[in-house]
């Protein structure tokens, strides 16, 4: 029982870690590229790395934090222009090859020994050299904080059944949300009667309420404790997840604007857009730039609680981002966040379970890590084949081909 609780604790800590939030922001940007515009950007890690470098190097050189953020974003902006101009008029796979190459070039350049003074070479930039500027902004105070403050330890002396009850409530919430969302989807159908569509709105509010209750139940049963401020405390997490929420909101507003319809138009049929007099190249470029800015923002958040390490933001991160996006559902608003949280949680769940229950003679500690990544790769394959729309997606939205 204790082992299971340890595993679940590790999963929950991973799910809310700043790294997960950072990748979620990058995936939100990727969703704009791949999900809404149909651009095959395989260089999202390059955007992240540029953002991280711009941000950290500026802070090391005592540039104020807001300016440092702008510098990071500016680098990503220029990078997107440089990538987009030669490739956006070509077929989609050219963009894929060029973006992945360019991301690798950035990683190689960052690793250069000649630039050690600036980028720290292959070792990267130590977190303590740039993090204080951000950590000092914290108004959360000192000491530690447990989320949620009122948890199972306050009920019946923290008996096992209280925790189990919390888990059951969470499970019930998940089931309820799935049922309600499916029903709401049917109600969203334009063919449905107006009365049903109004009920759809009620359902949406109900879903939101149940999600909140479910989240509370999780933290009620599995409270998490960190320092209030500090390098790896609640302050970083609060900022990171606030940025995730803001990014989601921005993308939501963007894609339901007329401009968002342009993006989907380009994805579905470029020629039709051209025949309507639209400048397809400009639309694609705008999408590449905006999604890239999210990537850079993700990179900055990524290094807030760790170090700027060029190899940590390599190709793998891009591939993880694609897996997370397809898991959650491309071309959906909440898919990127849901997918990223599930992706990182599931990987830790697999790894920790293998560590706890598979004897060392079969799988060493090192091998459980690799085992979890093998599962990730196979899961990506199966996902694309059997459920390309992911958890939240709409299959009709994913018929495009670049």
């Amino acid at each position: 029982m204790d082992t299971i609780l340890d595993i679940l604790g590790a999963v929950i800590r991973e799910a809310i870690s700043p790294g997960t939030a950072a990748v979620a922001i990058a995936v939100i940007g990727l969703n704009l590229h791949f999900g809404y515009t149909g651009l095959l950007n395989f260089g999202q890690s390059g955007f992240m790395l540029l953002g991280a470098y711009g941000f950290a190097i500026s802070l090391v050189h005592d540039i104020p934090l807001p300016l440092a953020v702008l510098i990071g974003l500016g680098l990503a902006f220029v990078f997107a222009l440089v990538l987009g101009i030669p490739t956006l008029q070509l077929r989609g796979d050219y963009l894929a090859i060029v973006t992945i190459s360019a991301a690798e070039i950035i990683r190689f350049v960052g690793r250069l020994a000649n630039l050690k003074d600036l980028t720290g070479g292959a070792q990267g930039i130590q977190g303590r050299t740039y993090q204080p500027a951000f950590v000092d902004l914290s108004f959360f105070g000192d000491g530690s904080f447990t989320l949620v403050p009122f948890n199972y330890t306050d009920v019946a002396d923290g008996a096992g059944w209280v925790r189990a009850l919390g888990g059951l409530v969470f499970a019930a919430c998940v089931v309820a949300v799935v049922v309600l969302v499916r029903r709401a989807k049917r109600a969203d159908d334009p063919a449905a009667a107006p009365a049903e569509r109004r009920r759809g709105l009620v359902h949406k509010l109900l879903v939101a309420l149940i999600v909140v209750i479910g989240l509370y139940a999780v933290f009620f049963a599995m409270p998490v404790t960190y320092g209030r401020s500090g390098v790896n405390g609640w302050w970083v997490r609060a900022v990171a997840w606030t940025l995730v929420a803001l990014s989601t909101l921005v993308v939501y507003l963007l894609v339901r604007s007329p401009w968002g319809r342009l993006l989907r138009g380009v994805r579905e049929d470029e020629d039709a857009m051209r025949s309507l007099g639209r400048n397809v190249f400009a639309i694609k470029m705008q999408s590449l730039v905006i999604g890239g800015l999210f990537g850079a923002l993700g990179g900055m958040v990524y290094v807030l609680a760790s170090t700027v390490q060029p190899d940590a933001l390599g190709r793998q991160i891009t591939f993880f981002a694609y897996t997370a996006l397809l898991l959650g559902g491309a071309a959906t608003i909440l898919g990127p966040v849901l997918g990223t949280v599930l992706f990182f949680s599931a990987r830790i769940l697999i790894r920790e379970s293998a560590r706890a229950y598979v004897p060392d003679s079969v799988m060493s500690t090192q091998q459980t890590e690799q085992f979890s990544f093998i599962i990730v790769g196979v899961a990506l394959v199966l996902l694309v084949i059997f459920r390309p729309q992911g958890i939240l997606g709409n299959k009709r939205e994913l018929r495009f081909n670049v």
Partner: protein
């Protein structure tokens, strides 16, 4: 006496650490100690730690080029300046005081100042170390001359290019016939090295037999892949984008499977040394000559099959227009399966040879490291044209190997190849041998 020697040794080990931490040390008299907002340090060593150069005058100049200070290096070749203002400084060695036969190595362009000096940005409160290198004056005559270096690099480049061509032919054929950019192709290359490691190193099979068996096993993996995965997916009508993401998932799974089963370290395929041969300025291992020979033969066979045989004609027909090819009675599925088999076999062969002569062993990421070079080669030559892939590979091989002697530091040689790819797409997106057509 002995105690003193040990002490000096310890001290020389400690000095760099102390410089970093900025705490006081025993010989503080000759060292600069950075103080926040007061002093910044510029310190370094002339020569290497093993062979320090003592008694050289090191000159510090300010941003305008005026001499600020001159110090003479100590026994251990160390020098240091204390500056009270942050900013740009230049460090240069006084040629007069250098021992005979030594000269200052011209610094790399990124840190070069006027008159062969080294640019350094001093900051208060920290210590910076300019890289001041010396080399023997007869460096060019005694060591390898520049032309010799170039000759060696050209041969190395051809070697790399031939092996890349072996691997990229398959990538290009798959792209040509199915339109798929196969990101897992690199893992097919690694598979070749891994299988050869198992057969030759672990099981002790004869190397030549091992190479043949490896190629056959890898070809079989391609056949099975098409049979079990790609053909069913084609039948389902999965889009190319989705298929490409499938290859990425496969690549991820394969990389970690290699780590899972073989471990994360470099494994040798052969432990025996086959010796080297020297032709004029060029020295290569005997295995390299063999690998280049095998690669040329394999490429020639593929070329012959593509140009002269009915199967080759059918393959090219499928590349041009699958629907038309099917209508003319060509069994498209059979051709594509053949292409997958051949591509995996060629990639496996390339993997063995690459592990034998270039990376000197096989590791889980060996293939991944050349994947982008393969894509660059294929795109450079023209996506989907087999001969373009060959030409592109040779060019990429030469660029990668020549970038080093021509001034690109370290890993940047790969970046140069990728940079060329991006520039080429600007001017000639269809590649060198690709037909000019609308690709947008």
């Amino acid at each position: 006496m002995r105690k003193g020697l040990v002490g000096a040794l310890l001290l020389s080990l400690l000095v760099p650490l102390l410089l970093l931490s900025g705490s006081p040390s025993a010989n503080a008299a000759t060292l600069c100690l950075p103080k926040p907002d007061e002093t910044g340090c510029i310190s370094g060593t002339v020569g290497s730690r093993a062979e320090p150069v003592a008694g050289v005058d090191v000159v510090l100049r300010d941003a305008e080029g005026n001499d600020v200070e001159t110090v003479t290096t100590a026994e251990d070749g160390k020098f240091s300046f204390a500056v009270s203002e942050a900013g740009e400084y230049f460090v240069v060695l006084d040629e007069e005081t250098l021992p005979d036969g030594l000269e200052q190595l011209p610094p790399r362009s990124a840190i070069a100042g006027p008159d062969g000096s080294v640019k350094v940005a001093a900051k208060l409160g920290t210590s910076v170390s300019p890289i001041v290198e010396v080399r023997s004056e007869d460096y060019d005559a005694g060591g390898e001359s520049f032309t010799d270096q170039i000759a060696q690099s050209v041969v190395n480049g051809l070697r790399l290019g031939l092996l890349l061509a072996l691997a990229s032919l398959g990538l290009s054929l798959i792209y040509g016939t199915t339109g798929l950019s196969n990101f897992a192709h690199a893992e097919q290359v690694t598979l070749g090295g891994m299988v050869a490691y198992g057969l030759v190193n672990l099981a002790g099979i004869n190397l030549w037999l091992g190479i043949v068996v490896t190629t056959v096993i890898c070809a079989a993996s391609g056949y099975l892949q098409d049979r079990l995965l790609w053909q069913p997916l084609r039948r389902r009508g999965l889009g190319l984008t989705q298929l490409m993401i499938v290859t990425i998932g496969l690549a991820l799974a394969a990389q970690y499977a290699y780590q899972f089963f073989v471990g994360a370290s470099l494994q040798k395929v052969v432990v025996r040394d086959f010796g080297t041969t020297t032709f004029g300025p060029v020295t290569l291992t005997n295995l390299s000559f063999l690998a280049m020979g095998v690669a040329i033969v394999a490429i020639a066979v593929v070329g012959y099959v593509l140009v002269r045989t009915r199967i080759g004609q059918a393959t090219r027909a499928v590349s041009d227009n699958p629907a038309l090819a099917a209508a003319s009675g060509i069994d498209v599925d059979k051709i594509i399966r053949l292409v997958w088999t051949a591509a995996a076999g060629l990639a496996g062969l390339a993997g063995v040879l690459y592990a034998l002569v270039i990376s000197n062993g096989i590791r889980w990421d060996t293939g991944m490291q050349i994947l982008l070079l393969l894509f660059a080669a294929v795109t450079l030559g023209g996506l989907g044209t087999a001969f373009g892939a060959f030409v592109g590979s040779i060019i990429i091989g030469l660029v990668v190997e020549l970038a080093g002697p021509l001034g690109a530091p370290g890993d940047l040689k790969y970046a140069v190849a990728l940079g060329i790819l991006i520039v080429l797409l600007l001017v000639r997106p269809q590649g060198i041998l690709g037909r000019a057509e609308r690709v947008g």
